[in-house]
């Protein structure tokens, strides 16, 4: 019993340590004060109403949503053929290609950001904009999306695709009739993951953006103005709720996919 009690305490402390700071956000967003300090001054929802009046912040939110959507669609579209080639075909240099694909996972984003900035301004002569931010985000989201898809594609019997070919479906038709529906849970996970990675990315957005801001960059720039903080807290709380829901949904889809679609566990 002692051991069980000790583990429970450890788990509670661990969760409090990880999620406690995050919960400060919704707590102060309902606090009837301009300053995020204790003691709490009373309950209000006015920050949630006033938030919509902060035009630049809503503009930044819209920018982030647009970039996130575009980035995740493009990244997943690139990641699908990459994951299929890596899991299905033998070709020379495969380990090297796979390592290169996964490299952005371990390169610090500040290094990537500076390198991309130099390339974009000095070599390509492209003006900084939301487009350059999106390009950077595709780079960092690619390894995540590819590995999610690869684990899904490795999870189902390769002879399903062979059977489809054998029954008269050429490769492209086999992709749409067998590979795509079976990989769908992985594709949805990849779309959600790509979106979240782009949406909360700061460093690359900070370096590569032009006059328009993404939400994280905008929020950072507003920290100097205490009276704007409650609106940011309210928006942050909303984003927290939405992203939690998204992650839970994607996990459910992924789990259900693994349970029902994997021929190994019939």
């Amino acid at each position: 019993m002692m051991k069980g009690w000790g583990l429970t305490t450890y788990a509670v402390l661990f969760i409090a340590f990880v999620y406690g700071p995050v919960l400060i956000l919704p707590l102060f967003s309902f606090n009837d004060s301009t300053f995020a300090t204790f003691p709490l001054a009373g309950f209000t929802t006015r920050h949630y109403v006033e938030m919509w009046g902060q035009g630049p912040m809503i503009g930044a939110l819209v920018n982030s949503l647009k970039i996130g959507l575009g980035v995740t669609l493009l990244t997943t579209a690139i990641a699908i053929p990459a994951a299929i080639s890596i899991t299905r075909f033998r070709f020379p240099g495969k380990p090297a290609i796979l390592s290169m694909l996964m490299l952005p996972l371990v390169v610090p984003s500040i290094v990537l950001a500076v390198a991309l900035l130099v390339i974009i301004l000095k070599f390509l002569n492209i003006p900084l904009s939301l487009w350059t931010v999106a390009a950077g985000h595709v780079l960092i989201a690619l390894p995540f999306c590819t590995s999610v898809l690869m684990s899904r594609l490795e999870g189902f019997d390769r002879s399903l695709e062979e059977a489809s070919r054998d029954l008269g479906s050429p490769p492209l038709q086999t992709f749409w009739r067998v590979t795509f529906p079976l990989a769908l849970p992985g594709i949805i996970s990849s779309l959600l993951l790509g979106f979240i990675i782009s949406f909360d990315e700061f460093v690359i957005a900070f370096f590569l953006t032009g006059t328009d801001n993404t939400l994280p960059v905008y929020l950072y720039s507003q920290l100097r103005f205490p009276n704007r903080l409650p609106g940011a807290l309210a928006l942050g709380s909303l984003i927290l709720v939405v992203s939690t829901v998204l992650v839970i949904v994607s996990e459910i889809i992924r789990k259900r996919g693994v349970q029902s679609d994997n021929p190994g566990d019939f």
Binding site: E162, A163, D166, S169, V178
Partner: protein, 358 residues
């Protein structure tokens, strides 16, 4: 055989430095039930996948119904396959699985319905058409896989160990059904198995494979009665092997010097001269008789080391002085009497039962 349906000529297959098939030549006739038999890793599945077009041969030629299959993808071949894992599409129900390939044949709706219906009938899955793939038992999935391939009306049905995942009783039942189905449909079956009994039960002819080569291509009877070499003899059924030195041949009878066991005689299956070589005299357990006194038929003397009563037959293990491996003997239970363990016995066999193998 008139013009063969499948003509395999000098087919080899290499995966990197590993050679899976060394120069395979086989002709398979129309309506034949043909088995590829061998232990795992012998190349039988690779050969089947080459027939299906999933793998391309490294060298050699494959003709199906007179057509060169080089570069013809699996979707364009007149072959369909039952996979070892069955490969039932998990996102489709029974009916959608069976009808999967029909969409590519561009049939009328009525014809599609008709074909699915009769395939469901054939494999006895009536009433399960709407059932989801993961709600099926192993035997049912096997039937779906079979129906899904047969509904395409292939010229050749390829089966990759389709019965190995089933329990013994179901397997024996499916063997009989497969055989009956093959006879009534008249489709050529190419069947891969590692189970010699299964191959014997089902096949018109069997190609026994090992290490990417064909050891012997023969009827079940031929493989059992006239094994080409020791490996075939030991894979198909049980075989007693008595080491000996071959002497002079008279016709196809060869005199043998079995050392301490004295002079013996054996039959050679082929015309190859064995004179002076180290060979084996091969004897099937059921051809050997043992008894206290065999009179003139006695060839060796031994001692019963083990006796097992199996009802319809009795098996003995008989130790023979000068022979490292004891002889295995199976006798039909005709009198209900059993020789005691430790009994001194005489051992004999008919003249033409001893086969000389190198």
């Amino acid at each position: 055989m008139s013009e063969p349906l499948i003509h395999i000529e000098a087919v080899t297959k290499s995966f990197g430095s590993f050679t899976a098939l060394h120069g395979i030549d086989i002709d398979i006739g129309r309506g034949e039930f043909f088995s590829l038999l061998g232990a795992s890793g012998c190349g039988k599945t690779t050969l089947l996948r080459i027939l299906a077009g999933i793998e391309e041969p490294t060298t050699g030629q494959l003709l199906i119904d007179g057509q060169d299959m080089r570069g013809v993808p699996p979707e364009k071949r007149p072959t369909n396959m039952v996979f070892q894992s069955y490969a039932i599409f998990p996102h489709l129900n029974v009916e959608e699985n069976i009808g999967y390939g029909l969409r590519n044949l561009k049939l009328s709706r009525a014809e599609t319905r008709e074909r699915i219906g009769s395939a469901v009938e054939l494999v006895k899955l009536g009433g399960m058409e709407k059932r989801n793939a993961h709600a099926l038992s192993g035997g049912q999935r096997q039937r779906v896989a079979l129906a899904r391939a047969l509904v395409m009306r292939p010229k050749v049905l390829l089966l990759d160990e389709p019965l190995s995942a089933l329990d013994k009783k179901l397997r024996e039942e499916m063997q009989l059904e497969l055989r009956a189905m093959q006879r009534s449909l008249g489709i050529t079956f190419v069947f891969v198995t590692h189970d010699q009994e299964e191959a014997m039960t089902l096949s018109d002819r069997i190609a026994m494979m090992s290490d990417g080569r064909i050891l012997q291509l023969d009827t079940p009877k031929g493989l059992y009665e006239r094994p080409a070499n020791r490996e075939v003899a030991e894979f198909i059924g049980t075989m007693n092997l008595i080491p000996a030195k071959a002497g002079a041949a008279k016709g196809n009878q060869v005199s043998l010097d079995a050392g301490a066991l004295g002079k013996l005689e054996g039959r050679v299956a082929t015309d190859v001269s064995t004179s002076g070589r180290e060979v084996f005299l091969a004897l099937r357990p059921e051809r050997i008789s043992v008894g206290a006194d065999l009179g003139a038929n006695a060839r060796l003397k031994g001692k019963i080391a083990e006796a097992v009563y199996l009802g319809d037959r009795i098996t003995y293990v008989v130790a023979v002085n000068g022979l490292a491996q004891p002889l295995r003997v199976v006798n039909a239970n005709e009198t209900g009497e059993i020789l005691r363990i430790g009994a001194e016995v005489e051992i004999g066999w008919p003249d033409d039962s001893g086969l000389v193998l190198s």
